[in-house]
Symmetry: C2
Subunit: 193 residues, 2 copies
Amino acid sequence: MGRPREFNADEALDRALHVFWTKGYAATSMQDLLDAMGLSKSSFYEFFGSKHDAFMAALRRYGDREVARLDATVCSGGCARRLIEVQLRSVIERPSGEGDRRGCLTVNCAVELAPHDPTVHTAVSSHLDRMEELFHRLIARGQEEGGISHRHDARSLARYLVNALCGLQVMAKADRNTQALDDVVTTILAALD
Amino acid sequence: MGRPREFNADEALDRALHVFWTKGYAATSMQDLLDAMGLSKSSFYEFFGSKHDAFMAALRRYGDREVARLDATVCSGGCARRLIEVQLRSVIERPSGEGDRRGCLTVNCAVELAPHDPTVHTAVSSHLDRMEELFHRLIARGQEEGGISHRHDARSLARYLVNALCGLQVMAKADRNTQALDDVVTTILAALD
DNA sequence: CCCATTTTGGACCGATCGGTCCATATTCTC
DNA sequence: GAGAATATGGACCGATCGGTCCAAAATGGG
């Protein structure tokens, strides 16, 4: 009953996600959002509540997706050591000149908003926790299978990798040269030997 | 000749730096700046040109200071390995509840602005380059003295440490728990053995 | 076909944005 | 103390900020 919605809510949220991801929260205006989402102000406020609400929805969707992606990787059953390498390299392999260098939305939010916005802080923490957990599982498996040494315990290695990954996200945003990033990944991975 | 300035330009810039560092560029309004710096709009625009100009001046001052600090550390002649550990721990040792979790302004800018602002990108690159260079010197010395192994070459280790440091800055902003950060630092440092 | 229900476009809101401008205030030189 | 030079306070600018509101439009059920 009632007038039917003229837009796809999922798609609209994805477009909002893309804008926030590219420009950051503060630098994104309502007009930016409405233009990208292709809906009117009243529809936006009806369905998303506020700029901040929409942002939180987008951030949570982003986190869930990233976690699901890593989860699928972990469950794929490939060589743990190799899967970790692929995960690290995927961060730096976007060609230097390419596009917006959006980086990782969670890292972006950790930097821009987490210190002052408890809601964002919670979402960021949750994402990092889940990433750490998945890496932990992956590393434990790698250690059982022998591809990863027991020099460090799995928990420490998981935390270490999350940290390294966040560092790489920053390096990629700063557009560091490819050779340097390659050195970094190689050195990071040596901790698994 | 002419009416004398009523404020200290260095001090005013430092106050602006503090605001940008705490709130980020976009979230800092002119009013925020004027309040913190204690000067009028006309004085601000007379001496700093624009919000963006003032920001760049603050960012460069910050970078120079951080580089000078690390340089002093490197030149202090202490045990290289130990100096590196201190440098890493200094990032995470601010009590979790304390203050604003401002992190590192260069990392903040790399994330918020570098992808879209060439001037910022240049300043960030310069800072990271100089940090890498100082770490390189420190590591090379540590390898000569024997406190750091030759398992990795000094250049790669320097880049690896810059990356790790940026990761820790993100973790600190996200207010990760102390135990986890400690694990990370320990694991990072193992690369020097 | 009419009404209840829901969505939509867009006018409108006060506040604030970064920035300009100028009259006034304060100094120094002569 | 007159006049050149510089600094300051604050009025003022158009644009934009995030958000509200309501009349018009579009649907389904009766």
